[in-house]
Structure formats: structure tokens, C-alpha cells
């Protein structure tokens, strides 16, 4: 037990469980109802995937504030393709093609960030703030600001379908989280990412291909954003430049709550997953209790600070 409490993730897991139990205790028949559990499972994957992207960027000591912009731009491009070229009766193959297009847009957006950060040396926080505005701007310019509709019904599956009663978005998120966790801990790319985050100068002196690592990393963030954008599009049956605008702060909050060090070098995907879950439990639980959504925001912030305080005090105690 005390071993568990010694790690950031261990404490976070405990917090997640406490939140779950608390919410279940406060409104047992509603919180634990199958509808509520499914509803939660449908809700969180979209911002959870964005949080994964932000977390991955933070591992390098950077940040990606353009995730929402990239997500919407990818979704808008895919939606325009489906609405105008494919039409409402397009099949799964066409939707898959649109998905690939979204991924490509995300990739290009990510590469753009990567070049800004790695090649031109912009501070990531400003580079991605600026590029995020540009991505959103392109999405607005392409759509005139209104929603793109008329998607084929096959497109609804990824956001609303289920596989063996498990929501597809949840499956996508689980696969992505597992793949990222594996990528970050078991591959040379992941290790390089974290080593770079820990000390960029030493990474260069160790003849690490730092530029390539960063560019690949931001490209990865862009593609994750595109997946999130596609899910949002599918769930909304439309794409628009300003969907999910409140997700950015939430994604950053989750990444940090998940124990990712925003100054680089430390962070684990499992932490992000736990943070996402505790946020969702809190959020849905409070909604069931009829607590206003503003209080929810306050509780999130307080939770973040509380976790940081606990981590710091725990570290002080051990040293």
C-alpha cells in the first residue's frame, strides 16, 4: 500500500477510486446505472485523446496548444470531402478514405508545428498558440464559419457505434493510450522523446537526432488531434471550426493532473488515463447531483492544485 502511495500514479489511482466510490455512494442507483456508465464511456474519449496529445508534447518540455484547432481543421476537411464529394449515401470505404484524409491534415498540421519548434526554434507555447489560430482560421475560411453537414450515415459509427456493447470511441481511446504507452516506454523514439525533454542540450551532445524526434513528435500530436477531431465530427454528425473549444484547457489540466511534468522529462500515459477517468467521474457525478457546471470547473482546478500539493509534500517528506 505505502509503495503504491509513493508513486504519483499510485496516488492518482487512489484518488480516481475515491472519486468513483464517492460518486457511487452519493447517487448509487443513477451513477452505477448502465446508461450512466455507457454515457461516460461515450463522453470522455474525445478530450481524452487531445489530453494524450498534449501530454506527449509536454514530455519534451513543450506543449501543443493547437490540438483543438488541428482537430477541427482535420474534421472540416474530412467532412467537406464526405459532404461534397461522397454524399450522404457513401459507404464505409469512403468514410475510411475521409479518415485517412483527416489523418493527413493532422499530420501536416503537426509537421508545421514541428518545423516551427525544431527548425525555427520558436518556443512551443507560442508556436502552437499561433498555429492553433491559423488552423482554426483555415477551418473558418473553408466553411465560412458554419457547420459542414450531410455526412454519410456510415460516418456515425466511429463516434456512436459499439463493439460488443463497448462504445467505439472508448475502444479507439484505449487502443491509442495503450499504443502510446508502449511507444513512449518501449521504443527508442519514446525514450529519446523523454531524454530530450529531460535535457535538450545533452541530447544534442549525445548525437541524438533531436530535430527529427521533435518533428515526429509534433506530427504524432497532430495525428492524435485528427483522430479526436474525427470522433467529435462523428458524434456531432457535422464538423465546425469551433467545436470543442473548451477542450484545450481541459486537456492541459488533465495532462498535468496525470503527473506529466510540463517542463519535460517525466510523465506516464497511465497517469493521463487515470486523470481522465477521475475528471469524467467527477463531472458526470456532479451533473447527476445537479451541481452547476461552474462548480465543476472549480472542483477540477482545486483537484489539480491538491494533487500537486500532495505530490510536492510527499516528495519533501521522502527527501
Amino acid at each position: 500500500m505505502s509503495r503504491i502511495l509513493h508513486s504519483t500514479e499510485g496516488r492518482l489511482a487512489l484518488i480516481t477510486i475515491v472519486v468513483f466510490v464517492l460518486m457511487a455512494a452519493l447517487s448509487p442507483e443513477r451513477f452505477l446505472s448502465p446508461q450512466n456508465l455507457t454515457s461516460m464511456a461515450f463522453q470522455f474519449p474525445e478530450f481524452a485523446i487531445l489530453a494524450l496529445a498534449v501530454a506527449v508534447a509536454m514530455l519534451t518540455g513543450g506543449i501543443d496548444l493547437s490540438v483543438v484547432g488541428a482537430a477541427n481543421l482535420s474534421a472540416v476537411v474530412a467532412a467537406l470531402f464526405m459532404a461534397n464529394v461522397v454524399g450522404a449515401d457513401g459507404g464505409a470505404g469512403m468514410v475510411a478514405l475521409a479518415f485517412v484524409m483527416a489523418l493527413c491534415v493532422g499530420l501536416v498540421a503537426g509537421l508545421f508545428n514541428g518545423v516551427l519548434v525544431a527548425t525555427l526554434g520558436l518556443p512551443p507555447i507560442l508556436a502552437t498558440l499561433g498555429s492553433g489560430l491559423i488552423f482554426t482560421g483555415f477551418a473558418i475560411a473553408m466553411t465560412g464559419g458554419s457547420a459542414v453537414m450531410g455526412l454519410p450515415s456510415a460516418a456515425a459509427w466511429i463516434g456512436n457505434g459499439t463493439i460488443l456493447w463497448i462504445p467505439v470511441p472508448l475502444v479507439v481511446f484505449a487502443l491509442l493510450a495503450a499504443a502510446l504507452g508502449w511507444l513512449m516506454s518501449r521504443t527508442s523514439f519514446g525514450l529519446k522523446t523523454r531524454m530530450f525533454g529531460a535535457n535538450p542540450l545533452a541530447a544534442r551532445y549525445a548525437a541524438m537526432d533531436t530535430g527529427a524526434v521533435l518533428i515526429k513528435l509534433y506530427a504524432l500530436c497532430g495525428m492524435l488531434s485528427a483522430v479526436a477531431g474525427f470522433i467529435v465530427m462523428s458524434r456531432a454528425n457535422s464538423a465546425k471550426a469551433d467545436y470543442g473549444s473548451s477542450y484545450l484547457l481541459l486537456a492541459v489540466l488533465i495532462a498535468v493532473l496525470g503527473g506529466v511534468n510540463p517542463y519535460g522529462g517525466y510523465g506516464r500515459i497511465i497517469g493521463v488515463v487515470l486523470a481522465v477517468l477521475s475528471m469524467q467521474f467527477l463531472s458526470s457525478g456532479l451533473n447527476l447531483l445537479g451541481v452547476t457546471n461552474f462548480a465543476r470547473e472549480m472542483i477540477w482546478g482545486a483537484l489539480l492544485i491538491a494533487v500537486m500539493l500532495i505530490n510536492t509534500l510527499a516528495k519533501r517528506r521522502t527527501s
Binding site: 443513477r30 446505472s33 446508461q35 450512466n36 455507457t38 454515457s39 461516460m40 461515450f42 463522453q43 474525445e46 478530450f47 473558418i140 466553411t143 465560412g144 464559419g145 458554419s146 457547420a147 453537414m149 456515425a156 463516434g159 456512436n160 467529435v232 462523428s234 458524434r235 456531432a236 454528425n237 457535422s238 465546425k240 471550426a241 469551433d242 467545436y243 470543442g244 473549444s245 473548451s246 477542450y247 463531472s283 458526470s284 451533473n287 447527476l288 445537479g290 452547476t292 457546471n293 461552474f294 465543476r296 470547473e297
Partner: protein, 304 residues
């Protein structure tokens, strides 16, 4: 009691004056009918947050969902799921909504826009330059009002000219103020401005007052007396139009109840609410005649 229905009104954003007024209506209705009707809204103006909130309401097992969509397209799927589960779905301000049993509109948006234009034109002496403002370029309602207004001007007031694009204000008074300043600089001869978001005319009014152009210009738009009142007092804003969200809230709940009771909605029906005494039914859209014209002379009658 056991027959009380759970009826959730989900609005675009919680806390603002407009939806607080709507909450009054919902609460009043709950009181009158003994049903458990309540109003909720997300903390941020983001369609996705509204979707999440609707999901939570479905999970909670409500009997009826009454939604004022932030973005009608974005909530189609989730409303579809709600209807599949047998939940009664009524919407407001979303004439194009597919997954709804009835959509309630206080009026036809084009008519409302045209009405504002008539008032603007009368004030301007039917001639001169005017500009239009929308909360966001993506807002269907705002654009329909503006479309209606421009169509009326083109048809009826040939001596008036529209200058510039639709100015986007992000539903933010500061933005509206800055856009208005810019319009005033770019078009010194401007005579009229029409706002769409409730904060638009307030921002415009502030810019007008600062320049002392209260008498030279005419400003009309959708707003509430609590927001635009101080500018109507000085004449910086010449008039506003709106519908009473309190009555709209009641109307949504009333229609939902009728649907749940299996009553039929018919053209020309009387919902028993002011402005909804002789409704027009067009497909599943219910149109009322609930617009309220307010200017300095009658603003004291509306305390919200």
C-alpha cells in the same frame, strides 16, 4: 408524486440573463404543473459541452429533453439516441433540427429580421449606409435575421446600402464595441447598424455614445432591456426586439407535456401563452408570434 415527469431544459450556456429569464419560466411551469422541470446549461459556450450534458441527462433517465442548441447539427446524434430511448425531445431556436419532435420558434426568423429592418429604415428615413453584426458567422439564427433584414431592405428600401461584410462579434460586448469603432472609422457616413447577439447593440451603443452620434445614427438589434436599457435611455440605441425567453421556456415544457400525454399539436392552436395564441405549424416547427418591440418608451415594462 409518481406521475411527476422529469423534464430537463438544456440551454446553450448557464448563468446569462437570457437563460436565467428562461429558468423563471421553467420554474414557474414546474410550480404550476407539479412536474419536476429544471434548467441546466454548460459552463462554457461549446457545443461539445452541451452534448456531454445532454448525455448525462439521458443517463439520469429524464422523461423529456428540452434543448436550446448551441449548434443544432452537433446535437443531432445525441438527440437521436434520446428519442430512441423514448425520451420526448423538444427544441427551441433550431428550425432545421431533424431529431426533435417539435421545434418551437417564437417567430419566423426572416420575419423578425425584416421587422428590425423596417424599424431601422423608419428611423433612418429610408436612406443611407448601414452595417450588420452577427454573434458568429456560424450562427444560423443570427444569419437568418440578417438575411431577412437585408432581403427586406433590398426589396423595400432602395436608397439604403449595406456596407462591409457581416461583422462578427463572438457574442462579446467588447468585440462588438471594437467592431463598431472600426465600422465608424471606415464608414464615416454610416447611418444605421443592426445587431444580432444580445450584447451587440450594447457594444455599438457605447461606441456611438463616445462619439456623440446618438442622434445621427440608428441602432436596432436583438437584445434585452437589462443589457441595452442604458443605451436606449441616451438614444445611442434606438430600439431592440426580442422574444420573452420565460414564455419560450414555458412553451417548450407545455408542448413536451402535450406530446407525452399524446395530445396532437395542430396549426392555429392556442398554447395558452402570450404570443403563442395562434401558432403556425410547418412540418414539426411551431411558429409563434411572440416578438416584442421595445424602445425607450416602453422599456420600463420589461424588468429582465
Amino acid at each position: 408524486d409518481a406521475h411527476a415527469k422529469q423534464m430537463a431544459t438544456v440551454v446553450k450556456i448557464d448563468g446569462i440573463a437570457w437563460f436565467n429569464r428562461m429558468r423563471e419560466g421553467v420554474d414557474e411551469w414546474a410550480e404550476e404543473t407539479g412536474n419536476n422541470a429544471f434548467l441546466v446549461g454548460p459552463a462554457q459556450a461549446d457545443p461539445q459541452q452541451q452534448v456531454a450534458l445532454i448525455e448525462d441527462m439521458i443517463a439520469q433517465g429524464v422523461d423529456a429533453l428540452l434543448v436550446v442548441p448551441m449548434s443544432p447539427e452537433a446535437i443531432e446524434p445525441v438527440l437521436g439516441r434520446a428519442m430512441e430511448q423514448g425520451i420526448t425531445v423538444i427544441t427551441h431556436e433550431a428550425a432545421s433540427q431533424q431529431n426533435t419532435q417539435y421545434d418551437i420558434e417564437a417567430f419566423r426568423n426572416e420575419d423578425f429580421g425584416a421587422n428590425l429592418m423596417d424599424r431601422l429604415a423608419a428611423c433612418m428615413g429610408e436612406e443611407g449606409e448601414y452595417a450588420v453584426f452577427v454573434g458568429s458567422l456560424g450562427s444560423q439564427t443570427h444569419n437568418q435575421w440578417v438575411d431577412g433584414a437585408i432581403a427586406r431592405q433590398e426589396e423595400a428600401y432602395p436608397n439604403m446600402t449595406l456596407v462591409g461584410d457581416r461583422n462578427e462579434t463572438a457574442d462579446d460586448q467588447q468585440q462588438a464595441y471594437a467592431r463598431a469603432q472600426e465600422v465608424l472609422r471606415a464608414h464615416p457616413n454610416i447611418k444605421g447598424m443592426q445587431g444580432s447577439a444580445s450584447t451587440d447593440v450594447a457594444g455599438i451603443g457605447l461606441a456611438i455614445e463616445e462619439r456623440g452620434l446618438e442622434d445621427e445614427t440608428c441602432v436596432f438589434g436583438t437584445s434585452l432591456p437589462s443589457i441595452a436599457g442604458q443605451y436606449m435611455e441616451t438614444g445611442a440605441v434606438d430600439g431592440i426586439g426580442f422574444w420573452d425567453p420565460k414564455i419560450a421556456g414555458k412553451a417548450m415544457n407545455a408542448v413536451a407535456m402535450m406530446v407525452m400525454n399524446g395530445e396532437e399539436i395542430t396549426d392555429g392552436m392556442d398554447l395558452g401563452l402570450e404570443g403563442y395564441g395562434n401558432i403556425t405549424l410547418d412540418g414539426k416547427v411551431i411558429y409563434g408570434e411572440a416578438f416584442v418591440d421595445v424602445d425607450a418608451s416602453n422599456m420600463a415594462d420589461y424588468d429582465f
